[in-house]
Symmetry: C2
Subunit: 144 residues, 2 copies
DNA sequence: CCTGATTATCAGGCATACTTTAATACCTTC
DNA sequence: GAAGGTATTAAAGTATGCCTGATAATCAGG
């Protein structure tokens, strides 16, 4: 993730960065504040783990990192009680990493936090303004 | 800087993050590609250094970090030839950190890169769309 | 002119988020 | 059933971006 650009305080990119930083921290604070401690990097797991359980290598590929690095994230989440490792019935080398009930509550808290922030965006920008922001961002991302 | 939020791929915050990541890397790539190597953290210096030169402590306070940490950034920029330390004529304890001609060229390259990206945003979003995006972001940031 | 604050810097440490190397267990295929 | 590939894990290393503590020079006030 890059930093603020050199020079010129009010370019669009710097504003995007500040907005993201502002809201992103609110998510982490919200979820942690709701009683679900975690690190930002854990989202790499939460965002792609499947209900039936996911293999470590699959998670690593999906997050574009080494299986070893993903293994450490899973270790931490297991320690926190959010996921558990179960043997994969179809391959005895592999393990399935699956959410515990606490992990599901954590995800629910994350979704609730995000929805709360989005409602605040509706207030700040107006429902139409917020929709407009999303449309513009979508177009920007589509254009790559 | 936080990461992607847990869960839900298409919330506004995640879109902001992806947009920032996309464009932010383009800035670094652009400036480095123009022949001015640097690290993202160096922007903490470039963005606030004054033409007459700035004291280390002033830069550190402005970037909200310790003077030691700022000293290291200045070391690196001095090594790269972008800044130089000169004695402060008004205080023999202090040094003034000032841009070299190369440093000014680097800043110019940064500004040019940013302007190029902003022109691309004009193309992608339309001039009015881009202005609208900036207006929405400004309102978001003002509401804190 | 002594005292205490300020300026810069040296030295060492720490957290985050990865990496590579290597080992072990297991699968698949010839 | 041996060879080679895949899944996980342990161990150690790297890069970034900061920090605290201590030191030396200098300044400013009583």
């Amino acid at each position: 993730m890059p930093q603020d650009p050199p020079e010129q305080a009010d370019n669009t990119i710097a504003m995007l960065g500040r907005a993201y930083s502002l809201l992103g921290f609110q998510i982490v604070d919200g979820v942690v504040g709701a009683g679900y401690p975690q690190k930002p990097s854990h989202s790499a797991v939460f965002s792609q783990i499947r209900r039936e359980g996911s293999r470590l290598t699959a998670l690593a590929r999906g997050a574009n990192m080494s299986p070893q690095a993903m293994g450490e994230l899973v270790d931490e989440l297991e320690e926190l009680g959010y996921v558990e490792r179960k043997p994969d019935p179809t391959d005895r080398r592999a393990k399935l990493i699956a959410l515990t009930p606490l992990g599901e509550q954590c995800i629910a808290a994350g979704i609730a936090t995000i929805q709360g922030i989005e409602r605040r965006l509706d207030e700040i920008l107006g429902v139409r303004g917020h929709a407009s922001l999303r449309r513009l961002l979508a177009r920007l991302l589509a254009a790559g």
